[in-house]
Structures are given as structure tokens and as C-alpha cells.
């Protein structure tokens, strides 16, 4: 059972509806339907405009590819990451993916501020799709890596911002897999922890088959990526070795 990690995207298009307040209202819809016998209303506010966030994006990634995703704000980087993570189902096109997925974006979501550190490890682990047993097996590792000690028995609302980041980072990086998806490089903590975190990230990225990283930091991209992918207004405009892509993006 050794499937080669692979991602293939064929003509992926994503339309995101921009629902106005009126389009989100059932009452408006009902009133508009009831009115349909009368005169025609030119703009009833119910028409839902869509943003084409990704427009016919095709590419193929193989084992060993480290892809840096670049493009200005709103170019579609996050949308593409979400499509790769199965959050958005493409409006059109086909995505084929072989390999286990490790989404490493929005790592701070799903925490309960009233719950203790340990309870949040369980909660966040389940959101990441781990079973209770898998989480239990990793809890000690997370606790020791975060160096939070007895604080893990206390509600996380009393944690400092740095402590909370340590916990989030430790939980997010307790898994490894074939496909790493990152919206900005993740890191946390003070100087000493930062170094340890960096080591762990390199380990995870090193053992993964494919990494897709959306980022703006040129140095970071050159350091960690082999390939570059540039999006512009939802279209894939450039794809090739990272150095060349960054050069052309200038």
C-alpha cells in the first residue's frame, strides 16, 4: 500500500456567491415570489452576484514538490488552499488527490476559552480529524513540546498570547502526513521556542510528499519551496521553479 503522493487539478473553477442582506433574507424571497404576478421589478436585490475566485486552474503536483503560492491579496491563494483541503467543493473542474492531508491553516480555530489546555488538545484534535485514541497517544508529546506544564490544567483564557500560540502550534504540528497545506508559514513563541518550532516544521515538511505554502515573504519562499505558482485574479498565470516565478513576478 504505497501510493505515490499526487495532486492533480483539472480546470478548477470556484464561484463564491456574495450574498447581500436582501439575498440572505427569506422574507425578501417570499415577498418577491408573491409579487411575481405584478409588474416586473428591475433589480429586486435577490440576484446573487458571484465572484470567480478561481478560474480554470489546472496543474499537477508530484511527490517531492514544495510549492510556493504567490499573488496579491484576493488573487485566490486562500481559496485554492481551501479547495485542496476539501473545504470548498469546486463549482467546476476536477481535483484528484492521493495522500493524507495535513491542513495547517487557521490553527487557532475551534478552541474553547473556558476549557483547560488538555481539554482543548482533545477538542482541537477532533477538529483535525483524529480519533480519541490517536489524540491520547499524542497528548504527552504535545504537552512536553509546548512546555506549558501545569498550565495545561487551567482554562486557556488565562494564558498569555504567547502561551496560547505555543499550544496551538504544538497541537497543529503533532501530526504528519503526505500533503501539507499552509496559508502563511506558522511559527510561535519566544526565541528559544521559535527555533524548536522551526526544527519541527522542517521535519514535518521534510517528511511530507507535497507542501503547498501560500506566502508573501520572498526569502521564506526561496528557502522552503522548489516550485512557484502565481495566481492573478483567480487565474494561474505562472508555474515553474520558484526563483524564476518570483523573478517574473517583480
Amino acid at each position: 500500500m504505497n501510493v505515490v503522493t499526487r495532486i492533480q487539478a483539472d480546470n478548477i473553477t470556484v464561484d463564491i456567491p456574495t450574498l447581500s442582506a436582501r439575498a440572505r433574507s427569506f422574507r425578501s424571497l417570499a415577498v418577491a415570489k408573491a409579487r411575481s404576478i405584478g409588474g416586473r421589478i428591475v433589480d429586486d436585490g435577490l440576484h446573487v452576484p458571484v465572484i470567480r475566485a478561481l478560474d480554470g486552474v489546472s496543474f499537477e503536483l508530484k511527490e517531492g514538490d514544495r510549492v510556493g503560492l504567490i499573488g496579491s491579496n484576493g488573487a485566490g491563494k486562500t481559496t485554492l488552499i481551501r479547495v485542496l483541503a476539501d473545504v470548498y467543493t469546486p463549482t467546476a473542474g476536477q481535483l484528484t488527490r492521493h495522500g493524507t492531508l495535513v491542513p495547517m491553516f487557521d490553527i487557532g480555530l475551534g478552541f474553547d476559552t473556558e476549557a483547560t489546555g488538555y481539554e482543548n488538545i482533545l477538542l482541537r484534535g477532533m477538529i483535525m480529524g483524529l480519533s480519541q485514541r490517536e489524540i491520547a497517544a499524542r497528548t504527552d508529546g504535545i504537552a512536553s513540546f509546548s512546555e506549558l506544564g501545569d498550565y495545561l490544567n487551567l482554562p486557556i483564557r488565562i494564558y498569555s498570547a504567547g502561551m496560547l500560540l505555543r499550544l496551538m502550534f504544538s497541537i497543529a504540528t503533532c501530526v504528519s502526513g503526505d500533503i501539507i497545506l499552509m496559508d502563511e508559514w506558522i511559527s510561535a513563541g519566544d526565541a528559544a521556542f521559535r527555533e524548536k518550532a522551526q526544527h519541527r516544521m522542517l521535519d514535518i515538511v521534510g517528511s511530507a510528499g507535497i507542501m503547498v505554502l501560500a506566502a508573501h515573504d520572498t526569502e521564506l519562499l526561496i528557502q522552503h519551496c522548489t516550485l512557484g505558482m502565481r495566481l492573478e485574479k483567480g487565474c494561474l498565470v505562472d508555474f515553474g521553479p520558484i526563483g524564476d516565478v518570483l523573478e517574473r513576478a517583480r
Binding site: F26, A85, V87, P103, D106, I127
Partner: protein, 218 residues
Amino acid sequence: MATGAIAISIGLVYGQFFGQSVESYLPYFTASYITWIFISSTIGEGSTSLIMAGHLIKSAHLPIVFHVLRTVQRNLIVLVHNTLVLLMVWLYFRWEIGPQALLTVLGFILLYFFLVGASMVLAIICVRYRDMPSFIQMFTQFLFFVSPVIWQPEHLRFASSVLALNPMSYMLIVVRDPILGRAVELETWLVAATLTLITVLAGAAFYIRFRDRVAYWV
């Protein structure tokens, strides 16, 4: 605690208002009330469960039914706590509980699946149409008054038509009546089971049809 206080005080006052003895009315109201709280809060929170989980839906690939079930489960835990109030009332009045009280479990299983299905449908509608939650809340309040929670069906002259038109009353009765030692007619069971089946199928249909769209609506 709050549920207990409300159940007992309203039980004492309304019992007299309806001209009934405390030992028959108080258990009735307590059982009705905690079941109703479970129904109404599950419907209320269930319908907004996807809106509340918006950030998570956009960042983690979880089946959306997870968010709905999480809400139903939380309300189930509250219900278990509230059952203690009924237990205390029983310890005081000691009405007869026979083996037929076990039918409450069956009734509860029906109600549980009914609420999962209903929450699924409502959650998807509410995530698309954001003015629906307040409408649902209002409607649930209305259902409270037309369901046999405070009043007993025996005391209404036209009770049968009110009951027949209100689906929630069937779901309430199959859970509550067995444990109070009241007989439940076969017809009520059949209606409750049919309602559950329809609701679960509707929930499944909504889930399959719209699960890929929800991430775009939150």
C-alpha cells in the same frame, strides 16, 4: 436548578389554576417541561449550529453533520441533568412506575432522531436565509402554547383537533406519557414513528443536496 425551580413553581400554581391536585399535576408538568426544554432548545440551537460553526466550516474539512450533532449532543447532556428534577419529584410523590415506563426510552429514541433530522434541515435553511432563526424561535414559542405542556389533553373540548394538527405533540407524548404511567395509543406511536422517518429522510436529503454548498454560504 433553574429548570427545577420553574417546573416546581409553575407546577404548583397552574395545578391549582386548572383545579387539579398537586400530586397529579406537578409530575405531569415537570415531565412535560423538561422534555419541552429539550425539544425547543435543540431546535433553536440546532438551527443556528452551522451559522455558529461558520469559521470552522471554512477552515477544516469536517462533515457538516458534525456541527449539528454536536449541538444536539450538548442539549442531550442538559436533558440528563434536568431528569434529576423529575427523579426528585418522583421520590416525593412516588407514582406507580411499571414496566411500560420503559417505552419512554423508545419514545426518546424517536424524538432524538426526529430532532437530528429537523436540526439538519433547519440549520441548512438558516445558514442560507439569515432571517429564519428568529422566525423559528417565534414559531417554537407558539408551539409551546399549542402543545400539551402546561395543559392536559383531557381538559380541552377540542383537544383532539389541536393535537392532530400539531406534530410536536406526538413527539412529546411518546416520551412523556409512558414514564407518568399514562397509556399511549398505538395511533400516537405510529404518527410519531412516521414523523421521525419523514424528518430523518428530509434531513438526509438536505444534507446530501447541500453539504457542498454550505461552505459558500457561511
